[in-house]
């Protein structure tokens, strides 16, 4: 019998299929909404989009954040219940990207929220998002 921490046991039982709360800023909208559509159907993997942060496991931050919208994203993150995971999508979200010299965008997202996974790209393809979700399952299996 392998001895695991309490958090690891909880996560193995609860995260079998990911329920997403979407925080799609501009570019995220064009590449993540097709994931719900009929070509890259994400419901066959058990992932659905929920309307309230209380039901969600994962917060998808897709697209560049400004100082006004990161405050709302932080409040949404605080309202989610444990265990929770944050995924950052796109290069403008992680490091400023193409808007590195703008006065109003957020340059280092990890100063505001604890991020588990980064998906680079401008914007990343839908296959990249699926690979990221698979890595999350792998990460949860190896938690101790």
């Amino acid at each position: 019998m392998v001895k695991r921490s309490e958090k690891a046991t909880k996560m193995r039982k609860l995260i079998r299929a990911i329920w997403i709360f979407n925080w799609f800023n501009s570019c995220g909208f064009a590449e993540l909404v097709p994931l719900v559509g009929s070509r890259w159907d994400m419901e066959r993997f058990g992932m659905i989009i929920v309307g309230t942060p209380r039901h969600a496991d994962v917060l998808f931050i897709a697209g560049y954040q400004t100082l006004k919208s990161i405050k709302r994203a932080k409040r949404v993150y605080e309202q989610m219940a444990e265990p929770k995971v944050v995924i950052a999508l796109g290069s403008c979200t992680m490091s400023g990207g193409m808007y590195w010299d703008s006065y109003n965008t957020v340059k280092r997202l990890k100063d505001y929220l604890p991020i588990t996974m980064y998906i680079p790209g401008c914007p990343p393809r839908p296959e990249a998002v699926f690979e990221a979700c698979e890595k999350i399952f792998q990460h949860v299996k190896e938690l101790e």
Binding site: N25, F29, S69
Partner: protein
Amino acid sequence: MIEEIKPESVESAYDLYFGPAHPGSGNFGVKLKVDGERILLARADPGYLHRGFEKLMEYRSPIQNAVLSDRLCVLESLNWNLIHAEAVDALMGIDIPERAKYIRVIMAELSRIQSHIIWYGVLSKGIGFDTGFKMAFGYRDYILDLFELITGGRVYPAGYICPGGVRRDFPKNSTDKILKVLNKMDKMIGLAKIENPTLKARTKDVGILKKKDALRLGATGPVLRASGMKTDVRRDDPYSIYDRFDFTIPVRQEGDSYARYLIGIMEMIESKKIIEQALKELPEGEIIDQSLKKLKISGKIPKGEVYVRNEISRGEAAIYMVSNGMGTPYRAKIRGPDFLHMIPVLEHLLKGTQIADVPAVYWSLNICPADMDR
């Protein structure tokens, strides 16, 4: 002018915030003052996507701006690419080769069809018709595959329409592939044209915009055409080679959400006609002007000013570019159609409607918050 309603006069009024974390609102917030089910006052709350785009363009040369300009609104990136390239071409006094002119029109019209498909999809999802949403995003992927074949990117074409022409030529057999995709679009338009009683009941007589209000509030594009005014920038103020093609301008008189939805469907048919005519007449030749063939970052823009207007899928877009002889534009003012549609027109339309009708009004205006905030 915005009227103030004193809260003491309506005792049961309360505030409701339809904000950015709501799944049905996009990246935009509206503050509502509500009495029971009826909205008394609406106040728009923009600014969640503001990056100061116009000043970012002042630090970059025209070739770098061509790559930046497709991120103005992600849902129709090739149309914004086109208007920026036209502004720089007009300032530099370049006349681009004939083949490049036809390729630009074909790509811009494909992007317009793709944007109208998104409009149909999110309008259906907002009022509860989920089949329309799944169908729309399924058919849109055929066009995105075409974009990937020709320009290299599904959503952002990396400055494909650049000052001087276009970046690279069509690959072999693209004409056949484009015609096959247009046949599939025929099927989708046929399915969308079926008179659906659900859609009709939820959007008929909702959000009526009269013609004199639309002209006073600054509406343009499909919103104005659904209220009875026959106008289109491609016909009245022709740019590129639109005066060589034969297409009609759909107009309706009622001004409600159902009329706006029908105009979207009819415009897709007209765009298809334009692409077919352009493909028949496509000549051979060069695709980029000789002086800009080797993409230089350090060229200088001659002194002058120019105001370019285009018809993008949401309405009238314009760029006012001023140059004082240096390598970067001195001022580039961008006028987007959504700046007027989302603040004055939306506040006017939401007054007096019920809360349950808000998605039908909101999504029928075909909004894109990125081009309002810039």
